[in-house]
Subunit: 344 residues, 2 copies
Amino acid sequence: MGQTTRQIVLKRFIDGAPSPNDFEIVERTLPDLQEGEFLVRNILVSVDPGTRARLSGKPSYIPPLRLGDLVGAFSIGEIVESRHPKFAAGDLVALAEGWSEHLISKGRGFIRRITDRRLPLSAWLGVLGVSGMTAWFGLHRVAGIREGQTVVVTSAAGAVGSAAGQIARLNGCRVIGVAGGPDKCGWLTGAARFDAAIDYKAETDLEAAVRSAAPDGVDILFDNVGNHMIDRVIPSMNPNGVIVVSGQVAAYNTDDAPGLMNTRAFITHRLKMQGLVVFDDLPQWSEAERRMADHVAAGEIAWRDEITDGLESVPEAFAGLFRGENRGRRLARLAPDPFEAEMA
Amino acid sequence: MGQTTRQIVLKRFIDGAPSPNDFEIVERTLPDLQEGEFLVRNILVSVDPGTRARLSGKPSYIPPLRLGDLVGAFSIGEIVESRHPKFAAGDLVALAEGWSEHLISKGRGFIRRITDRRLPLSAWLGVLGVSGMTAWFGLHRVAGIREGQTVVVTSAAGAVGSAAGQIARLNGCRVIGVAGGPDKCGWLTGAARFDAAIDYKAETDLEAAVRSAAPDGVDILFDNVGNHMIDRVIPSMNPNGVIVVSGQVAAYNTDDAPGLMNTRAFITHRLKMQGLVVFDDLPQWSEAERRMADHVAAGEIAWRDEITDGLESVPEAFAGLFRGENRGRRLARLAPDPFEAEMA
């Protein structure tokens, strides 16, 4: 008889901003563990805006969910039973299965074993997870970041943006963050040590604010927002500038997102714009993760988590992301960290 | 006493489509030749859509013209008098000075001496000039073209587009050209040996036409038109596809050009879009020019010229470019080719 668990499934396709009522918590019995599988009890699950892309019923870079499907998400859990030769009970793993209290994995696809316990578990769902690696490979592989450049990061207080800005700072760049509201901007120039922060909600002329914050021009725009934001930064970009398209949050909930207007500058300023999906970088992942972990352990990268309690908290936490109310990466705790429990 | 000459100057700033009345032919006396200068008698001058960018009075990647300024253009001429140590009377040169019967050059900036007389002079203002080199470096440097790829070229019957498509074909790629009207499309699949041509004027669903012509998807889009055209091709693009932004003809005459809408595909399909200005490639120019000249001499690259007579023909020929009436690169002959005259 398989493990009984609770999980969050998609109740209706989402058109526009997500609501908690788009989801449903169901109790399910997992199948018996087969040879080559292991059973995970999730400790932390992530609540990411990127999940939105699969919830409309329309195709994206990963197939859309059907109604009743487990909603995909990253999580960290402890293996409670294993019939897989390379994973053992007690191992901590990060995986990409979904919002579920228990999961069965075949150890394929995106899966990372966590052995470096210098850092809190939540770090492995943020700066050392997909968010931090997106920032890392966006700046290193796509933008070819070099010391002395000026880097603008949008949605800069978010998980990807705050990692991008701080990686840029550690590479000797001048870093300008764009975020909404004094709390986020204060955190950027405070704990996260950005050189400057622009509160887009307070600026009537964002284009002028960027120009004024970047008197020597912008070499790299690391964008998580979308075309409207990119268009405000392009007029400040230096020749051969690079726009890293990391996310288009502004377009997730609408088909009417504005087009990119300043495309003539691609010729006049020899701009490059390139998107990335971080899973293309799996072969280089361990090396990047190790270097990031050293930075984090040395206290050189700040982040903020908002950890809510229990699977029940997830739908509302997710919907809140699209109202911009989060002040850090959102996670939900489904079970205590066994390591912290030992220490206590 | 300096050389008396005739030249075309800008009479009024252009807002919208150019008209012949925006220009004026004036007679001027050039200054006396100084040490380090030479005097050129132009044989052929080019009539390029790219000239439009400097005629609105607004800044571009090169400074805008003032009223009364000589209109910039590429030309080929014979040196009739030289006080420059590296250039001699009788030399043929390609240079970027303007629509003038005579020019004084200091031998700086863009200047190429023409010594390979296997080919008609007009080739050096087309496939072996800036147009052909834009195609060459756009495909090689920006797109990293590889054998077996599928390449879509827009404004494919134009000087840059037809060179791009044929360079792609010589690299073992499947080449699809987009052009307006049966004459241009017939020339593409005929003399220019494109694999397929799409008549955008005859297609009600350009996006479907591209998909049907490229069943294996598009790896490289070499675009000379603008966002509306790019948006029709993006849905067919393969992962890691490259969009070369070579020109934005659709935007030259208007501030209301449409924005680029399909930017989400930059993430989902890991697209890269990059612009180029070919003068950045001057260090590699001679090598590229030599390889292109061999292709042209071997009859592997077709092109069409429309050569009108005299400086008087230039303003009307230029205005006609923006009505799409040209069937090849437009040039005006201001003097006989001395080599052809010798042969006759």
